[in-house]
Structure formats: C-alpha cells, structure tokens
C-alpha cells in the first residue's frame, strides 16, 4: 500500500478535523517524521532521550574521521515509542482508559462505537479519535451518537502514530476518568507495529470475514489483548464457525479475551460494556 505511496506527496498530509466546527488542522506535512512546530515541547529534538543511554549515543558531535564506526543501537521506532510512552503516562495520570481499536475495513468498528457510546453515556465520559485515510464520516457518526470526536485523516498513510494521538488528545482534552476510544485505520497489518500509548489493542473481526483471519494476520491478533467477534447475529447465514475462529485466535494469542457480540442488535454486548466500566479488566 504505502511502500510506493511517495511520502513527500501532498496525499500524505495528515489532518485533524473537528466535526463540530469543521475546523481543519494540518498536523503533519508530507513525509514521515517531518518536524513541525505547532507545539515546541512535543517536537523538540531530543538529544537525551528517556531511553537507557546506549554506548555511543552521545557521540554525534565528534567531527567525522572517515571510516570511524559509531555504535547507535537505536530502535528505529524509538521516536514513536517515546511519544507513546508519554501519552500512556498522561492517560494513567488522569485515569483515562485509552483503547486502540483495530480491524480490517468493514468489520463494524464504527457501529460498535455508536452502540457503546449510547449504552455507556450515563456511566463514563467518552471521547473518540477516528483514523481514516479520507472523510470525516465516522467522526460525524460517533458525534451523533453522543461522544466528543475528532477525525484524523492520514492521507496516504495506513495507520495512526503516537504523535497524531498526542495532537488529538491536546485538542480533545478528555476529563479525568474518561474513556478514550481510538478507531485506527482499517488495516490488519501496519497498526500492529505502532504503539499509540493505549492500555490495550482491541481487534475486531466479523463473521463475514472467515474464521482464518487470525492465522492470516497473526501479528495483529498477537498484539491485541481483547478480540471481539462482531456480527454474531448473522453467523448462521454466512456459515461462520465460531469454535474454529476461537481456536485460531488461541493459536496465535492464547491469552486473548474473546467476546462474540453483535454491535447491530446488541446481542451479548454486556461483557464488552462491563470490561469498559471496570477499566479494561
């Protein structure tokens, strides 16, 4: 998908949209990791990262004798991971439960959010960050359901990254004790690599997708602590074998909590809601 997307392209701009006012903020221009100074505290060059100081990390200012080898030992996603760790601390400090919802397109994440918001509105303040390549349709849907929502358009990008969440949370400013639901871009590959600072990833698979999705996309199902099997109301019609799907999930991730439910009819929605009320436990 994005291996050939041409990252300097305008199509790779990332924008934040407030569906209430229609205000658009450009949070990333063109390519990955381009610095922008909307918040100097968040994007300053960190020469002394919070990571354990590796040998050689502080040597960049030596003037290069040709052929000298500098040991870096730096994780390539460390910048993302640092921002994710900061997000996580922010969430924990305020008692905000942040969940990162991942699935293939059309598994029913947005419908799941709509029902969750309607059912939980009286129990907990709910905020939603919607990630999609284009349009703010989803943010409008969840806002209509009663949650405060922001839309992130990733342009050509195939996943959300921690700095986008940091910018969105800045604007959303969730109250202490709130529930923050992050709907990632519909994609079972890339989002598994990028920590956003969430308490856990929740993978949604639907009965129309076939029982072997967890085996085909093991990285994602391994990264998720909870798996929701959605559209269980039509499982008979589409000849979905729930037992085999659960076996496949267990094969790649034996510790996952698996809940079958229907976001449309509300069937077996209770266990999911009580998990949200009890802070993901």
């Amino acid at each position: 998908m994005c291996g050939i997307c041409g990252c300097a392209d305008k199509a790779n701009d990332v924008t934040l949209i407030d569906p209430e006012t229609g205000d658009k903020t450009l949070i990333r221009q063109g390519g990955l990791l381009q610095e922008h100074n909307s918040d100097p505290h968040r994007h300053h060059h960190d020469h002394h990262p919070a990571h354990p100081p590796h040998e050689g990390q502080d040597t960049p200012h030596i003037h290069s004798p040709s052929g000298e080898v500098i040991s870096l030992e730096q994780a390539i996603l460390s910048k993302n991971d640092q921002i994710a760790a900061r997000n996580r601390g922010w969430f924990e400090g305020r008692g905000v439960l942040a969940l990162n919802l991942v699935s293939s397109p059309g598994a029913g994440k947005t419908t799941l959010l709509e029902r969750t918001i309607r059912d939980l509105a009286s129990e907990r303040a709910i905020y939603v960050i919607e990630g999609d390549q284009m349009t703010s349709n989803d943010a409008e849907r969840v806002r209509d359901a009663g949650a405060k929502a922001l839309q992130i358009n990733t342009g050509a990008g195939c996943h959300l990254e921690a700095d986008m969440i940091a910018d969105a949370v800045d604007q959303l400013d969730p109250v202490p004790g709130a529930l923050l639901l992050i709907e990632n871009v519909g994609n079972l590959v890339c989002p598994s690599m990028f920590d956003l600072g969430e308490k856990m990833k929740v993978a949604v698979i639907s009965t129309t997708e076939g029982e072997d999705k967890p085996l085909k996309y093991p990285h994602m199902f391994r990264a998720a602590e909870t798996v929701l099997i959605n559209k269980i109301d039509i499982s008979e019609v589409v000849e979905f074998d729930e037992a085999s799907c659960r076996r496949n999930i267990a094969e790649v991730n034996p510790n996952a909590t698996v809940i079958s439910l229907s976001a449309k009819t509300g069937e077996n929605f209770g266990p999911w809601l009580s998990m949200l009320v009890s802070d993901g436990k």
Partner: protein
C-alpha cells in the same frame, strides 16, 4: 508494507546522529517478527538516501531475534 516510511525514519535518525557528516555505511538488525521486508527496505534505500549526507551509503542488514528492529551502527564516509 511501509518500508519507505521506515527507511525515512532510519535516514532521519542516522543523519541527526552524524550531524550532517557524510555516512558510508549503515548496519541494521532485523528480527523475523519485526514485520519488516528487508528486500523492500533495500529497494527504497537508494531513493531515500539520494540527497543528503547518506548519499551513496550502503545498507547492511543482519538477522536478529524476535521483533528486533534496530540501527546497530553507522560508519562515517570521506569528507567531500
């Protein structure tokens, strides 16, 4: 899947560490669970290094364990 973006990350980290000095070689360690296609990474390396201090730098990849995805080291090149 997104090796172009990842290789830009690598270039950005190494350029910053090299402080603008020319770089001749970059060595990565990649594990089998890192979700990174090494061939795709090699493929876009020449393009992302074309302008700037990493121009002409070779990319060396060593196998590692688990989901390791690290820049091990880099080597300074000749001053232009």
């Amino acid at each position: 899947m997104h090796e172009l973006g990842l290789s830009r990350n690598i270039v950005s980290i190494v350029s910053e560490a090299a402080d603008g000095n020319p770089v001749a070689r970059v060595k990565l360690a990649i594990g089998p669970l890192a979700c990174v296609e090494t061939k795709a990474l090699q493929f876009c390396w020449d393009i992302v290094t074309e302008d700037g201090p990493l121009n002409g730098a070779t990319l060396e990849i060593v196998a590692a364990e688990g989901d390791t995805f690290l820049i091990k080291e880099f080597e300074f090149g000749e001053m232009a």
